[in-house]
Structures are given as C-alpha cells and as structure tokens.
C-alpha cells in the first residue's frame, strides 16, 4: 500500500518538475510546481509528518504559489523568449548535471550505507508534538524568525512601492 502510493505520487512529483522545466509559459510552470507541492504533501503524510503536510499545502501551495501566480498576472508575463546561450555551456552543462545527479543517486544507493525502510504509521509528527519541541527547545530561533518576517515585509513594501525605482 505504502509502496503503491509512494510510486504514484513520486511519479506526479517528477512529472511536475519536468513540466516546470519543459513548459514555455510561466503560468504553466507555476501550475506544474503546484502539482509537485501537493504530491509532496501526500508523501509527507505517508511519512507521518501531519503538521508539515498541512503547512505544505497551506503555506507553499496556498500562499507562496498564489503570490507567484499573482506576480505573473500582474506583470503580464508572456512566453519565454529564447536567447542564444554560450555553446560551450550547453555542451558541458547537461552532461555535468546528469553526471552530478547520477553520482548523488549512486552515493545514496550504494555508498552511505543507510538502510532500513519506513512503514505507514510507525512515526507521527502531530501538531502537539511538533509545537512542544518548537516552543521549548527552538523558542529562540522561532522568535528570531518573527524578526526575519518583519524585515522581509518592510523590504517588500519598500521595493515594490511606486516611485522607489527612481
């Protein structure tokens, strides 16, 4: 059961990621990315990360992607225009990327020696348990993120304000 669900949603994930790469229009890329994020939320649920799955849907697939789609609509972004890149970069870049990814996958499969498998329901990250940790052991980092968010809000307002460019 776990394996079947994993395969289905892993295929969705990889398909969405490839859709992000292949599609020419940014709105299609954004919708593919939403597919990836929702499938990842299901994978998180399979791994018992209930709280993380919920905030994945709410924050990532909800808030952040709405912000992206909103910006695409606002700037009226059309189809991507192709520009000529350097030929050396094309000739070297793709093989290098494939070799790099293959090395990482080989290292994971054969070298680092992490074995073991996960079954459904053996571990649960309920909101109670996560908040227990977050508000006790990680209280200071949690408070610091509030400062980060505040600075981000002020920066966004300052940058996007009309007339700030001149």
């Amino acid at each position: 059961m776990h394996l079947i669900l994993f395969i289905i949603f892993a295929v969705f994930c990889v398909g969405g990621a490839l859709g992000l790469l292949i599609s020419k229009h940014p709105i299609n890329s954004a919708l593919s990315l939403i597919v990836v994020m929702v499938s990842l939320a299901v994978l998180y649920l399979l791994l018992g990360a209930e709280f993380v799955a919920a905030i994945q849907v709410i924050v990532y697939a909800g808030a952040i992607m709405v912000l992206f789609v909103f910006t695409i609509m606002l700037l009226n972004a059309g189809e991507e225009e192709r520009t000529k890149g350097s030929r050396v970069a094309t000739a070297l870049g793709f093989p290098a990327l494939i070799i790099g990814a293959a090395t990482v996958i080989y290292a994971i499969l054969a070298k680092i020696g992490i074995t073991g498998s996960l079954s459904l329901g053996q571990f649960r990250g309920t909101p109670e348990a996560v908040s227990d940790l977050l508000f006790r052991d990680f209280l200071l980092p949690f408070e610091v993120t509030s400062v980060l968010i505040l600075i981000a809000i002020m920066g966004a307002v300052l940058l996007a304000r009309k007339g700030s460019a001149e």
Binding site: H2, L3, F6, A10, C13, V14, A17, L18, L20, L21, A30, L33, V36, M37, L40, L43, G48, A49, F51, V52, I55, Q56, V59, Y60, A63, I64, L67, F68, T71, I72, L74, L75, A77, E80, E81, R82, T83, L97, A101, I105, I108, I114, T115, G116, S117, L118, Q122, F123, L133, L134, F138, T145, I149, I151, A152, G155, A156, L158, A160, A165
Partner: protein, 100 residues
C-alpha cells in the same frame, strides 16, 4: 514498506530538476520557482530522516525552511516587480547591469 533510499533518490531527482531549471530558464519568475523546487527537495530529505531516526527536530527544521522561503518569495517578487518597472522585461539576459 518503502526503503528510505527511494525517498532520497526522489529528493535528488527533484533537486537536479531544480538546478536544471535554474540554469536553462530565461524568465526570472521561472528561475525563482526552480529555487522553490530545490527547497522542497531538501524539505523532503529532512522529513525522511526525521521518520528514519524517529526525531521530530527534522519537522521543526522544515518549518523554519518554509518561513525563510516565504520571506524570500516576498522580497524576491518585490525585486522582480521593481526590475520590471524600470526594464520592461523579465528576461534575465537583458538585466545585465547592477544599476536598476
């Protein structure tokens, strides 16, 4: 039962797709989305190892990564809007001066 390596390989594939998108895309918004894809791949690794070692700290770290991603998206999209206002383009090849 799913071996933990399957999840790690999936995460590596997603990360590689993010890197490829970052390199080949010319639209600045799509490049930004590739960065989000890479962050998501790393989050998957955190959650898998949290389940493997039965430790909840991984989930808390995913929470922090999401907070940083949200802040980054807000600031980054504001910068994109500012660039578009002065340059009238989203193509990164035409945004080649440090000056706005």
């Amino acid at each position: 039962m799913v071996p933990i390596t399957y999840y790690l390989v999936l995460s590596a594939i997603l990360f590689a797709c993010g890197v490829a998108g970052f390199l080949i895309k010319r639209n600045i918004i799509t490049i930004f989305m590739s960065i989000e894809l890479m962050l998501n791949a790393v989050n998957l690794t955190f959650v898998v190892f949290a389940a493997h070692w039965q430790k909840l700290s991984g989930h808390v770290f995913v929470f922090f990564v999401m907070v940083v991603a949200a802040a980054e998206a807000a600031v980054g999209l504001a910068i994109i809007i500012a660039i578009f206002r002065t340059r009238e383009t989203l193509n990164v090849d035409r945004v080649n001066l440090l000056k706005l």
